[in-house]
């Protein structure tokens, strides 16, 4: 379990640290196929909303209590919501697991990153939202995000934000190395990396050694499908596909030629590296810049954002890293009120815009993305660039058919045991990935799954 720091991480975007992209796990049937449970009546809903209730909401999003949740409580004065930050990332999930195991002490609603939803559905820890009318929310959300919350004949969460992958970089450092336009392909990136390394004291970026989330995002962008789950007993694990191998060979080359550093991320030394120019860029998700605005505040105006480098000059694909949802936790005594809370903060146009503008989330509601108040916002940190518009365009190129296995906690932990040493010691990443794959397959079989 990582012990996390405080405010720097509190600067924003939901799912981070150990998060990766979420994969939608759908079966062959279209996303709208949910359970055939009947929807509650309007009377039941009104009754629940007017009964004095107290809800507990576990989330690490900063200021959510004074903003979006406050708006909800204003709209429904009979419902009091207690917002608790029980940790970020891994710590949050551990507490959730422990509370679920004990059968009590857990929240009504919890923040749940996309990639963990299957892991909690398989243990039957999330409540199916179909009986509460969740199917009617589908048109509000971006398709690929909606796909991520539908599985195993149910709808299990309401999307809150996502993390399309892009490239943020220090224009001044790249300029001084002679790179005046951001790299378009990964080959360009390699050339730029060499220029930056030889002509400046910086690295073009840091390939964080312990960051499973970023690894998976890069695989996602390359078109690899490392994980599949059919919602039942069949899982697929493939980390040795040509796409995955291609990605690893590329980064291995950069690491071994000392063109990228391999420092662990999201710790103090790493933040300093971004602030003082040790790293001239970061391949990160739309929520990445929020972190920069905190520690790297003195570099305001020097950064720009661009699309992530592509695998060919004609390609235009991205991956996703992170993104959260709100889910109802089994054992809640007020499912209707809890559902309304999750629904309101994430789908109400005003609160969704608030997430995007005030907390710098990347929106998942079609209304916000189309809203010029969001898309035309310029960023002082990025020297006046319309970053939202850029990332909005990137979001459209995220492959919508990505899945997760229902034991992602183990996947990331295993990545740290297999990939991290290889990255830090500049070893063979393809071999390490094979070891990771083997560990995951062994675990899956031990847990009773059938490998497909």
């Amino acid at each position: 379990m990582e012990l996390n720091r405080r405010h720097l991480l509190g600067l924003g975007a939901g799912a981070l640290a150990a998060s990766a992209l979420t994969a939608c796990s759908t079966t062959a049937s279209p996303p709208t196929a949910a359970s055939s449970a009947s929807v509650i009546s309007e009377d039941e809903r009104t009754k629940a909303l007017n009964t004095p209730t107290e809800l507990t909401f576990w989330t690490w999003v900063p200021n959510i209590d004074t903003k979006e949740v406050a708006a909800f409580m204003k709209a429904y004065p009979n419902i009091k919501v207690k917002v608790e930050n029980v940790g970020q990332g891994a710590a949050h999930y551990q507490k959730l697991r422990t509370a679920l195991k004990a059968g009590e002490g857990g929240p009504d609603v919890a923040q749940m990153e996309f990639q963990y939803i299957p892991s909690y559905v398989v243990t039957k820890s999330l409540i199916d939202l179909t009986p509460y009318g969740a199917a009617s929310l589908q048109p509000l959300f971006v398709d690929w995000c909606w796909k991520q919350v539908v599985m195993a004949n149910g709808i299990y969460a309401i999307p809150q934000d996502s993390g399309p992958l892009g490239n943020v970089y220090r224009k001044d450092i790249l300029d001084s190395a002679g790179i005046t336009t951001p790299p378009v392909t990964w080959d360009d990136y390699y050339t730029a990396a060499k220029a930056v390394r030889t002509k400046t004291k910086s690295y073009i970026s840091d390939f964080a050694s312990g960051q499973g989330g970023m690894l998976v995002a890069l695989l996602w962008q390359a078109g690899a499908k490392p994980f599949t789950w059919d919602g039942g007993e069949k899982v697929g694990i493939n980390l040795s596909s040509p796409e995955a191998t291609k990605v690893m060979q590329y980064w291995q080359k950069l690491i071994q030629e000392d063109l990228v550093s391999t420092d662990a991320d999201f710790n103090d030394a790493w933040y300093q590296g971004l602030a003082n120019g040790k790293y001239a860029g970061w391949i990160t998700a739309a929520w990445g810049p929020v972190f920069l605005q905190g520690t790297a505040a003195k570099t305001t105006g020097l950064w720009r954002a661009s699309k992530a480098p592509q695998w060919s000059s004609t390609a235009d694909a991205s991956g996703n890293w992170g993104g959260s949802t709100s889910a109802l936790i089994k054992g809640t005594k007020n499912p209707i009120a809890a559902y309304e809370l999750a629904k309101y903060i994430n789908s109400n146009a005003a609160t969704a815009l608030q997430f995007a503008n005030d907390q710098f989330f990347f929106p998942v509601t079609k209304s916000t993305i189309a809203d010029p108040k969001w898309s035309t916002q310029t960023s002082e940190f990025f020297g006046g660039q319309k970053v939202n518009e850029l990332f909005g365009g990137i979001a459209d190129t995220v492959d919508p058919n990505f899945q997760w296995v229902p034991f992602m906690e183990y996947v990331y932990s295993s990545a740290q045991d297999t990939m991290t040493p290889a990255i830090t010691n500049k070893g063979d990443l393809v071999v390490a990935m094979k070891a990771w794959e083997t560990a995951l397959k062994t675990y899956a079989t031990q847990q009773g799954f059938t490998l497909v």
Binding site: M1, E2, L3, A90, Q94, R97, T98, K101, V122, T123, S209, G210, E233, A264, F266, N267, D268, A269, Q272, G273, K278, P406, F407, E409, Y410, S413, Q416, D417, T420, P421, I423, T424, N425, Y443, Q446, Q447, G448, F449
Partner: protein, 304 residues
């Protein structure tokens, strides 16, 4: 203390004594049973099962224990702690003993101040001191690196895979020398002065007095610190857990057996196997402690 013979138990005074003893013992035993024995038994019960994501919980008897004894991660963690034990514990206790003897000899100026300063690290919460040392060790910005570079000396990466164990040894030593020193110092203070006054008059040097009189006199206290140190070493948890984010490559999830058990329980959701690991670890600690006690006993013959 004389051992009372069985035939005396029927004596009314004897029965009253036994009743008093039980009464005094009762509150502690009640809480002890509830907080230690019951969870332990439950833990043992859990360790005989296996829970899988698909298939639920099944009874597997001692299968988890068999798995523990052949688990390379667990065994290498044990080995690593064994290495830690034979290097760090003698170093730390040797240092504690040296300081205790030096302070006891009265030859040090400002000895009460030194005593206090040696003990202060123990007052610092373990989590705080580990995190603090994490900063001091930092490759780019840590104090140690700063000082070494200022002196134009090579600054090794103290958090690298090769050095991290040594770095952890330093943290534990820093934290506990004071504690162990105080135990030994208190024991030294109870030695009657006559014992070594005589030796001094006979012309024995301070060193000789320390070696032949003082150290044997506090053998029990030293033994106490040795046992506690053995237990503490094999239960090492804070250091791998808190230092891991700084260099995940250097510290695996099974770096120490205790950390492994924790990760098994909370990350892998495998509390059954975690319980078995914890038990085997406990048994192992008991074994080592017993062996250490036996070997020192047989060397010195019977105790006083």
């Amino acid at each position: 203390m004389s051992a009372l013979v069985a035939r005396r138990t029927s004596h009314p005074l004897r029965r009253k004594q036994i009743a008093t003893a039980y009464l005094l013992l009762a509150p502690f035993i009640v809480v002890f049973l509830a907080m230690l024995i019951v969870p332990l038994v439950f833990s043992g019960y859990l360790s005989t099962f296996r829970t899988t994501l698909i298939g639920g919980t099944t009874f597997t008897g001692l299968a988890n224990y068999a798995r523990a004894f052949t688990d390379p991660e667990f065994l290498s963690g044990l080995g690593r702690m064994g290495l830690f034990l034979i290097i760090q514990v003698p170093l730390m206790l040797g240092l504690s003993l040296f300081i205790a003897l030096a302070l006891d000899s009265g030859r040090v100026r400002g000895s009460s101040a030194v005593r206090l300063m040696t003990f202060v690290p123990y007052a610092v919460p373990g989590v705080v001191s580990t995190m603090m040392w994490g900063y001091l060790y930092g490759n780019d910005f840590g104090l140690i690196g700063q000082i070494l570079r200022a002196l134009h000396l090579p600054a090794p990466n103290l958090l690298s895979s090769q050095n991290i164990l040594g770095s952890m040894m330093n943290i534990v030593t820093w934290q506990y020398v004071g504690y162990n020193m105080i135990i030994m110092f208190a024991a030294l203070r109870t030695i009657p002065v006559e014992l070594f006054e005589a030796a001094e008059i006979d012309g024995a040097s301070q060193l000789r007095i320390a070696w032949s009189i003082k150290i044997p006199a506090i053998r029990n206290a030293i033994m106490l610190t040795v046992i506690f140190s053995i237990i503490g070493t094999f239960q090492l948890f804070n250091e791998p857990s808190l230092l891991r984010p700084l260099n995940p490559a250097a510290i695996s999830s099974s770096y120490t057996p205790n950390f492994y058990a924790y990760n098994l329980a909370f990350i892998n959701q495998d509390i059954n196997y975690a319980a078995a690991i914890a038990f085997v670890l406990g048994l192992f600690i008991a074994l080592i402690s017993y062996v250490v006690q036996l070997s020192t006993r047989s060397r010195e013959g019977d105790g006083r």
